[in-house]
Symmetry: C2
Subunit: 325 residues, 2 copies
């Protein structure tokens, strides 16, 4: 374990979970707070589904399917087949084992526990020692505004496969939400040395977290390096709609767009080695950039990128002048 101090990492879907996995390999549970996007959460078939929480949990527990990119390895789909036969809604795939997570989460929430409490219990049952903290115990729902009207995130992402042209993104309920108690507690009581924005969609995965009132200001007030790892490699998102969405929202393509979304927040940006040239203008404009091998295939890739990202943060902390506005 190679760092001192506590690290707060914000993450969303698959890419973020991979770096989070790496962080859990180099930081003790007491030194890491993993904050997860819940803007993708939705009610489906009467169940409370938290896609990003589950992706992170399955990844950390070593249960995630690496080929499909979501859900559990070795999953079966008998429930979905039977549901389709009954004429039920089958646009959102729920594996037989995965379903247990949703049913049990829904039951515990209905019994009055908070999403933080339920998540702590379920992830502990999976043998996960690092705390996974939902960004908020209050419902925040990511709504993609498109030329065909507003779409809840899963409708946009899964049912419509990101085809509609986006005109904006809003986070329903964010203005009334509080950050979750464990995150508030970490911000107040832990000696935080760095904040990492994992390689998740800046708008759709990290955006909802930063939309919770006070969090952005709270992170800046820590006065520690805030390092983003770019989800854009070679001008494209490794997974998901980040590049398409950014273009539709009028942002510069590629890394410049990522830097733009995080402007005023981050003190450093990790880019893939293949993007070093593209990152040069950002560095010239004063944003510290570190080019690393950012594509994570193996567990070793994840661990190495986590270590190198923390090294970068440590270097930024040691610099006399910080590139923050």
């Amino acid at each position: 374990m190679s760092t001192s101090g506590h690290v707060v990492a914000l993450c969303g879907g698959v890419g973020g979970a991979k770096l989070a996995f790496g962080l859990t390999r180099v930081l003790e549970p007491k030194n890491l707070t993993l904050v997860v996007n819940t803007g993708d959460d939705f009610e489906h078939l009467g169940l409370h589904i938290s896609p990003d929480v589950d992706t992170l949990a399955y990844t950390l527990a070593g249960l995630a399917d690496r080929e499909r990119g979501w859900g559990l390895a070795g999953e079966t789909w008998h429930f979905m087949g039977a549901l389709a036969r009954l004429g039920g809604e089958s646009w959102f795939n729920l594996g037989d084992r995965d379903l247990a997570m949703h049913v049990e989460r829904t039951r515990r929430l209905a019994a009055g526990r908070t999403l933080s409490q339920v998540t702590a219990g379920l992830t502990a049952a999976l043998g996960i020692r690092h705390p996974i903290i939902p960004m908020s115990d209050h419902p925040v729902r990511t709504i993609v505004q498109t030329d065909g009207g507003e779409l809840e995130f899963q409708r946009y992402f899964v049912a419509e496969q990101c085809r509609p042209v986006a005109t904006g993104v809003r986070f329903e309920g964010a203005d009334r939400a509080w950050i979750s108690p464990a995150l508030a507690s970490a911000l107040v009581w832990k000696k935080i040395s760095a904040v990492v924005l994992c390689p998740s969609n800046p708008h759709l995965s990290v955006g909802p977290i930063l939309a919770i009132p006070g969090l952005r200001e709270g992170l800046l007030a820590l006065d520690v390096p805030i390092v983003a790892v770019s989800p854009i490699v070679g001008g494209r998102a490794l997974k998901g709609p980040a590049a398409k969405l950014m273009a539709e929202l009028g942002l510069p393509p590629g890394l410049a767009g990522v830097a733009k979304v995080y402007e005023g927040l981050i003190s450093g940006l990790v880019v893939d080695v293949t993007d070093e040239a593209e990152a040069a203008p950002l560095a010239a404009a004063g944003l510290p950039v570190r080019a690393l091998r950012a594509v994570m295939i193996t567990d070793e890739d994840r661990t190495r990128l986590a270590l190198e990202t923390l090294d970068f943060a440590r270097e930024l902390a040691a610099r006399p002048a910080r590139a923050k506005p």
Copy 2:
């Protein structure tokens, strides 16, 4: 199709479903109303589970597991394994495919449809042409009173495996329940020629149906044969706790107990050929008895018993004096 007029059959679990299957093989959908016990229904893991409705539906659809005696043939149990790992309640087994029925039923009920409407939709999706009518759209819950306190039916039947000594049975909510609209409609508008009480537990499966206010009187007012098929063969229930429960409730053992429970209601009793001698005192006391091969192993057994039961009812209707009080 060998009968004239409409038949109303009341049924509960596995044995009842087998005879109901036979009835569907000899009666057109328009000539049969299958009324199912919903006193076993319960909320579990946030899902509305209707065990007897599902047993009947799976049996009629040819999907039931014949060896295990409940649930779907070829079922898998990945959900239960994952649920147990999460520390969820695992005393009630829910198969991966079976789960679709409960999730979709719960969703449709939550959307405001009645249990009758939901059942009609789900059974039609399974290709079932004969109407399956829940006894009531209102919640009625069978409570077994035991020396250790009151137990909801599934707790008694599944979790406790009928071990506690029963002191009584009551049907929570029955006094406020109405019979389901389709049953009321059949009673009023159909030219009913016979009522069949399928070989289900008289107390726990047929009892809740007869506890709905007005139904018992309504059946008697039809002035048609009401024929019960005994679930007790050779002094034992073929399946389930009927014999044990009847003894604990102070009823005579065997057929005499069945006749006692249905006293004042039935105009004839079908018994197994092995019980003909035991049935002689009942016949001597004025209850018409027909000894038939009442153990149903094959589909042919089911169809034959259905035909012969309907024949018995026709003969009873033709008798000048009826053995009703």
